[in-house]
Symmetry: C2
């Protein structure tokens, strides 16, 4: 598992270990957290996937499945470093796929994103939506990675499952609007600055639902795509209400004027998850309960707010 020290990765590690599966984690700990893997019977390879000497083929040898979760997930920083997403998200993915083929790994699972649809015309958006027009370097890079993976399956012997996530919430959440807002409100409980006008509509899912999908969802084709998300969405304003209520605060909320938080932010993300449901997966957690769960975990793990502050 690449990115196995991250939020999603380490949660998946726990689930796999619980099932008695031997797990190897590849992570360079640039955003992954060593504490998420502490005291766990897991083989950790501290490797930079971009390093041409990374011994991926050796690490992957004998594996039944490779989860490729490592990525640059900072959707907003793209424009200062336009090659960053290309390197971290596309080049690395090709390297992983190539190593899977060479090591004889049959099953590759890739964490993609609902951002691949750009600003979809059809909402909720199904996997076979129209040819997308990308709106962010991040979305473009994930779409590109998916495309190269699909091409790799044409060679035969490699099966790829792409999971297009909405944003994930829950314990070990280290990145995103809930952390930004809780960190702000811990710094200054009387006001909250929000990117955009707050009417952006987003769907989220809980990490427990996400992990269950990663473990259980597979299709019959060499290249399969599943949307993953809840069958509901919320506005940023609703989310702020839940966060403030959980913290017992009534801050002044200072919205921006734009309909989106930043260039490339998508004002409405809501995925059609019918295909995943047909394959037996359902979400158990509402967005509201996921937001509240996330706030509680952040409050109990103050170090993650220091992380958020340091990134600024």
């Amino acid at each position: 598992m690449t990115g196995g020290a991250g939020f999603v990765g380490s949660s998946l590690v726990d689930q796999l270990l619980e099932s008695g599966i031997e797990v190897h984690v590849v992570d360079n700990f640039s955003t992954g957290q060593k504490r998420f893997l502490e005291q766990k019977p897991v083989n950790v390879h501290d490797v930079d996937l971009l390093s041409s000497g990374a011994p991926l083929e050796e690490i992957f040898a004998g594996a039944n499945c490779v989860y490729h979760l490592a990525a640059n997930a900072d959707v907003r920083s793209g424009w200062d470093h336009p090659f960053h997403d290309l390197e971290q998200n596309v080049k690395v993915t090709i390297r992983v796929a190539d190593a899977c083929v060479k090591a004889g790994v049959a099953d590759l699972v890739f964490s993609s994103t609902g951002s691949v649809y750009g600003e979809a015309h059809l909402i909720p958006t199904p996997e076979l939506a129209e040819f997308p027009v990308q709106t962010s370097l991040y979305g473009a890079s994930k779409t590109a990675a998916e495309g190269f993976l699909a091409a790799f399956t044409e060679r035969g012997n490699l099966k790829v499952t792409v999971m297009r996530f909405v944003s994930v919430l829950g314990p070990r959440y280290t990145h995103g609007h809930v952390l930004d807002f809780v960190t702000q409100l811990t710094d200054h409980p009387l006001f909250l600055d929000v990117l955009g006008n707050g009417w952006q509509r987003k769907s989220y899912m809980h990490i427990d639902d996400c992990v269950r999908a990663l473990v259980s969802l597979r299709g019959s084709q060499p290249f399969e795509v599943f949307n993953l998300g809840t069958s509901e969405f919320c506005t940023v304003r609703e989310s702020i209400g839940w966060i403030a209520a959980e913290l017992g605060l009534s801050p002044e909320i200072r919205f921006g004027v734009e309909d989106r938080g930043w260039i490339g932010d998508n004002p409405f993300i809501f995925l059609d998850v019918t295909k995943a449901e047909i394959h037996g997966w359902v979400t158990n957690r509402s967005i509201q309960s996921s937001v509240v769960d996330t706030v509680r975990w952040i409050n109990a793990n103050g170090w993650v707010m220091d992380l958020a502050s340091c990134r600024k």
Copy 2:
């Protein structure tokens, strides 16, 4: 114009010069031909677009339009060098787009391919076909490049027009099945080896039609896509018939057994060009006349057969 010494590029150069437009060509002559630009009042920059020191911003400064035609167009070689398409077709495109933004160029035209649709379910395939599943590293790389370009237009001030070509035929054709077949039949007139069973159906267009599209077709959105091709297709068998007739030969034709020529070859490419037609562009040349024109040009320019032989 990047790739301005190539087949399409140099033909476009001629047309632009004829219209009195000042043209700067950026080409590393890896596949471009110096002879295509000889005796022409054009500014040639012998630059490798992958070199981090390539002074693109300076070259682009003051330009009204950048045509980005440079690419690795060898659809078949991908698997030996899985990063080749990524570097040549994606990284270079990001570099060109970034330089356009920095140099204040308003108009970027990108040569893409019908291969971006993978194996389309809807044929003829419109621009808004369903979310594609890639079948080749080449198609994946062009799709990826398109996606990054779309993301760049979100920043504002850059307008991108993507032209998704079928294969182009006509004078200066230096690459593809017609050259392969004419070269073979010149070497051994009595037989012809064909990749695949010959029932692959493809659409082609003439370079004159292609150049007219590149010059004239623009849409109103910051990111616009046009399919370019003829409103007909032919089988490889038909194409062979026209080539052999033009050469006055009746070779034994030795077909393969597969329904495609190589891994990632698409057995049926046929694009819906209604959008381009609505914008006033029509093709003047049939596929048959384009094939015949190509055979005549190859025969009159034997050096191009030596090129084909050297590539083997």
